[in-house]
Symmetry: C2
Subunit: 223 residues, 2 copies
Amino acid sequence: MAALPEAKSPPTDAPKGRGRRGTRASGDDRERAILETAERLLEERPLAEISVDDLAKGAGISRPTFYFYFPSKDAVVLTIIDRLVADAAEGREQILTALAEHGPRAGLRASLENLYSAFRSRPGVVRAGSDLRPTNGEARDLWSAVMEGWVADVTAVIEFERSRGTAPDGPPAREMAIALVQMNERAQYATLLGEEPSLDRDHVLDVLIEIWLRAIYGEVVSD
Amino acid sequence: MAALPEAKSPPTDAPKGRGRRGTRASGDDRERAILETAERLLEERPLAEISVDDLAKGAGISRPTFYFYFPSKDAVVLTIIDRLVADAAEGREQILTALAEHGPRAGLRASLENLYSAFRSRPGVVRAGSDLRPTNGEARDLWSAVMEGWVADVTAVIEFERSRGTAPDGPPAREMAIALVQMNERAQYATLLGEEPSLDRDHVLDVLIEIWLRAIYGEVVSD
DNA sequence: GAACTGTATCAACACTGTGTCGAGAAGTTC
DNA sequence: GAACTTCTCGACACAGTGTTGATACAGTTC
């Protein structure tokens, strides 16, 4: 039970509703214990096979006490996903900048590589997020927003390349962007979770990027 | 309770394990009533909000009696999905033939249009199938097999076009096929269920086909 | 027409999991 | 040391799943 040495706690992050219901205090450890238990268990088995009791036990508290810290199992997972998404967004290289700096192929690769690295390390969490969407509106909204962000970026890239004359005309940029981003989502997810059929871990990006380039530039990009 | 007039019952289709457990008899009506109730309710609300009791009530029987006909709620949905998938496969035009007959763009369009028409009419069932995958291995396997079939077809197309010299080289045909089929799955699903962001009902195919053509032929196909 | 057999039905039960309530323990403040 | 806030949990109410055992109700079969 000895508290793990904490580098330093975030200065004054507003709890934002999802977490504990009361005010700030020291039962912070418990909250963290619950989150850590959830992350650990999610890498072991799917969300549906984890009960509130498992989370409580794992954090060394009783089930009712769990409800003091989180309103539901979903809320725990959403908190974890919030953070994962924030992590993924954090180091995000602007695609447009990356393209300008390294050229289309290398630029795209750098952006996507960087983007997906956050997800690759926690497949269980990714799966949980995906499992949550059917039943949980908040999860749906969160993911919608994430997708929307990517789509906006990619739309900008396509429009930019078209305006420069480096990419040919075609379907509206936003529509192309939606399809391409959806392809990436699906393919990366399948690969991450080892679905069948899915692309090989080491080839996913190669294949996806090739399709992006051909779709956007309307030709086989040599570079 | 009067039996609906049945055109004629299928001659001697083996029950194949999923349906009723006993032997053949006349409680066929009840089995059908359960399936119909499920289909109806699924277009009203998601699977998670439908209980075994709802299905039983809808079919005019008690909950235990439901279990005489199906081993679980999942089994009912799987039966429905089996049929939907069979429907979709049935009228399926061979892509290769369609391409040869109508050229790349029109051929692809004909194949995909035809394929997705079966799904478009029962979005609730599609959603249920998707909702089932996280928790139900059988659902996963079924969908895997479906995807595998499509991937095989598309792989053949790409290899054929490459061998004729009409399509340039690139990533292995199968890998391209996987990514493209996954894109379609995701995009069509999002559109069907009105996710945000998603492609407009009337544009999905245009956009997807354009990407397929550019990806496969490595150039903007004029035709 | 009595005994037999398989189909069909359901009340009652056992179980798992969620979320709530109310009584208190434990710490803090004045 | 009284009052307040934070934290904890036993006991409950509830919703849903799946099972058991008794029973009704055909048809046969003799």
